[in-house]
């Protein structure tokens, strides 16, 4: 490992710990009345401001650290959500492919009928009579009793790979950044909704990589051996496949974390924030745009972003080179 990479990671970790302690101490950022209505670099108003103040007289150091911890928290939550979606669909498409899971025709019919039933219940919702609620179940029962033995013996395969691959293609050709702005604007979500929208729009690339890795690992002999021994699919996936692709997952996760952090910063720069508070690095940079002579508003967040992202991406690249 490179000397500079080590220093960078130490810097990142210490920044994280500092911001956590800062949140625990819950220091409130109060307006400095002596500096209200003016940008000021390193200054002493009512208190000392090492990083200076913004236009309203808020301490920039406080904004800097609490904004960092909020962005990291946001990025982590979105990362977890999108990773869950990506992992689930990637493994489904990769491991089960087009012939992994077979269903009895009867079960398939039951499933479809159940969905139709639920849709029908929504259809009659304006004035449901109690008796009518049982109608769908009666229909299903008649279907079951029609020709039970014949359907029991026939099977169909569910083409997970084909379905999920076309989902990748549809999601992949949607413009993420623009759609994201519009969705956040129109749905006016709370914090959790914001995280959900971002994770739904960003899982595709990760899932593609996971699918390719799973397909690569799946052909190994020990998987065949495990199958021959009668070990269940779920256990094979957890014990053997996920174990073998965890390094790749880690690398893509680090890249994704950096990108999400960046995305959060750029959305905040535009003026869209999920948390509801306008404390973030992107927000400080947006304030810099109003007065170009306030150099400290540019300097600290941009150096912070650079010094946070470079070690992160270098670490990912280092791990990538190590695994290959």
């Amino acid at each position: 490992m490179n000397r500079w990479l080590k220093y960078g990671l130490i810097w990142n970790i210490s920044l994280l710990i500092l911001s956590m302690l800062w949140q625990l101490a819950s220091i409130e950022n109060q307006i400095d009345n002596a500096l209200h209505g003016a940008y000021a670099p390193f200054s002493i108003g009512d208190r000392i401001h090492i990083f200076g103040t913004d236009y309203f007289g808020y301490d920039l150091l406080n904004h800097f650290i609490s904004g960092f911890s909020l962005s990291v928290f946001n990025a982590l939550v979105i990362l977890v959500f999108s990773s869950i979606i990506a992992l689930l669909l990637g493994v489904l498409a990769g491991y089960f492919a087009n012939d992994g899971i077979r269903l009895r025709i009867l079960s398939l019919f039951m499933l479809i009928l159940l969905l139709v039933d639920i849709a029908y219940l929504f259809f009659i919702v304006p004035s449901p009579d109690i008796l009518i609620l049982f109608l769908p179940f009666i229909i299903v029962l008649t279907f079951i009793s029609l020709d039970y033995r014949l359907w029991r013996t026939k099977y169909v395969f569910i083409p997970f790979d084909r379905i999920i691959s076309s989902l990748y293609e549809i999601m992949g050709s949607l413009p993420k950044f623009i759609l994201l702005i519009c969705l956040v604007l129109f749905l006016e979500p709370n914090w959790l909704g914001y995280a959900c929208i971002l994770s739904v729009l960003t899982w595709v690339q990760k899932s593609r990589i996971i699918r390719a890795e799973v397909i690569k690992v799946k052909t190994a002999y020990y998987i065949d051996a495990a199958k021959a021994l009668g070990i269940k699919d779920l256990w094979i996936i957890i014990r053997h496949i996920l174990n073998n692709i965890q390094e790749t997952i880690l690398v893509t996760r680090i890249y994704a974390f950096g990108n999400l952090f960046l995305l959060d910063a750029s959305l905040n720069f535009i003026g869209i924030s999920g948390v509801g508070s306008n404390v973030s690095w992107g927000n400080i940079l947006a304030q810099y745009r109003y007065d170009l002579s306030a150099w400290w508003l540019l300097l600290f967040p941009s150096i912070g972003l650079t010094l946070f992202l470079i070690p992160l991406f270098s670490l990912a690249k280092y791990l990538e080179n190590k695994t290959n």
């Binding site: 029908y120 004035s127 009518i132 050709s173 150099w295 941009s302």
Partner: protein, 431 residues
């Protein structure tokens, strides 16, 4: 080849439909009440959103109960529509329902007239009006409306409405084909015909968007030129192999992860504040014709492609290094060719094709990345317009921009895939 293109087009179709449906949904669910008002006077404000057809059905077909009638769509007021639907469900006689709705309407008009003449009190008036149009009271007809004598005759008509026990028909779903007379069709046809409506200031949206789009396109074109120029420069850097070139390569490798909006801000700071060369408002002046120095577009374009150039340079370096370890290069070097000769005559042909196609992947990045960079430099382009309308909640403009950019970006993904297939016929994109 043609088969592949056809297949790819077929796969692009769902995302195209998704974009259209999404922007339609955006139009319908615009926050606020201006768009949803049925008043004809405010209809001009949000023409793109609701083209004065709000009373029509949503889509080409709709799922309705068996005893539903198309007449219900002709009712322009939505609370009467719900009422009529319920009345029809319980009576089944369309003529009776029509008559009943007319009676209810007449009664409410009579009530309003009485109220304006001061013959009934405000409390009774409100109670009666809500009783007339409230779904809760429908099942308990005849309607018991309080009030004075003058409209007792009308009430007699109202109470004459008969209920048949046709409720079972309500539980049988039926698909009704509505035809072209629906909101979606009108919206789409106005979109295609170029009638994009007006924004909140009364300016035509289409003109606003396309004047802004020309600037974004120019910026994207300049950035694309810069990105293409980066390829020969990085190949040249590989051949020089001096201290300076190593320094440049190291610099590019470390700055690969710095985002483009930081670059844009730093460039702006250096040129406009430290060196005082650039007027921060230069792009506004270019737009208004006060200045003709279009070379300033190189600055935002440089900020836009900087991370991409660093990435491209890194990729080219690794690719060339891999290629130089191959046997045919060793043979050529052993024959006595210079390193530069080998590079330009043999290696480039084999290793540069991936980068021609990766340039096409830059188009969506440029179009959506321009949102931030244009904002920073104050270029009156599409991104700047988008953020301005976000702040002013100018929904027709936002929807127009989303629609246009989405279509272009998804088309450029399609183009990239097709070009990739043309340049690498051996690589099969998994179908």
């Amino acid at each position: 080849m043609i088969k592949f293109i056809a297949k790819r087009l077929l796969r692009w179709l769902p995302s195209f439909v998704a974009i259209i449906l999404l922007s339609f949904l955006f139009c319908l669910n615009v926050p606020g009440d201006a768009s949803l008002s049925e008043d004809q006077n405010t209809g001009t404000v949000n023409q793109l959103i609701v083209p004065n057809t709000y009373h029509l059905p949503l889509f080409y077909f709709s799922l309705k109960p068996y005893n539903w009638n198309i007449f219900l769509n002709e009712l322009s007021q939505s609370h009467y529509k719900d009422l009529a639907e319920l009345l029809l469900a319980y009576s089944g006689d369309i003529h009776a329902v029509k008559k009943q709705i007319r009676n209810i309407n007449n009664t409410s008009i009579a009530l309003t007239k009485l109220y304006s003449e001061g013959k009934i009190e405000a409390y009774t008036y409100k109670k009666d009006i809500s009783a007339l149009s409230n779904l809760k009271y429908v099942k308990s007809l005849p309607i018991k409306v309080s009030g004075s004598k003058p409209y007792q005759i009308l009430l007699k008509d109202l109470n004459a409405f008969e209920f048949h026990d046709n409720a079972w028909k309500r539980y049988i779903p039926c698909i009704y084909w509505i035809g072209q007379n629906n909101i979606f069709h009108q919206w789409l046809s106005s979109l295609i015909n170029g009638d994009w409506g007006q924004n909140t200031n009364g300016q035509p949206v289409k003109k606003l968007i396309f004047t802004a789009f020309s600037k974004t396109l120019f910026l994207a074109f300049v950035s694309l030129l810069l990105a293409v120029m980066a390829i020969p420069i990085s190949v040249h850097l590989f051949t020089i192999n001096s201290g300076l070139s190593k320094l440049i390569i190291k610099f590019l490798q470390t700055t690969i992860s710095i985002p483009r909006f930081i670059w844009a801000l730093v460039f702006l700071f250096l040129l406009a504040n430290v060196l005082n060369w650039m007027d921060p408002l230069v792009f506004k002046q270019l737009d208004r014709g006060y200045s003709k120095n279009y070379f300033w577009y190189l600055v935002p374009a440089g900020a836009m492609v900087f991370p991409f150039v660093a990435f491209l340079q890194d990729q080219i370096q690794t690719q060339l290094r891999v290629e130089f370890n191959k046997d045919y290069v060793k043979t050529a070097l052993a024959k006595g060719m210079a390193k530069r000769q080998v590079l330009y005559r043999h290696v480039l042909k084999n290793s540069l094709f991936p980068f021609i196609t990766s340039i096409t992947h830059l188009i969506p990045v440029l179009l959506s990345g321009s949102v931030l960079v244009e904002r920073i430099f104050g270029i009156p382009g599409l991104g700047d317009l988008l953020i301005e309308s976000l702040k002013g909640r100018d929904f027709p403009v936002i929807i127009g921009i989303t629609f246009l950019l989405s279509i272009i970006i998804s088309l450029s993904y399609l183009l990239g895939d097709i070009l990739y297939q043309i340049f690498h016929p051996k690589v099969k994109i998994d179908s």
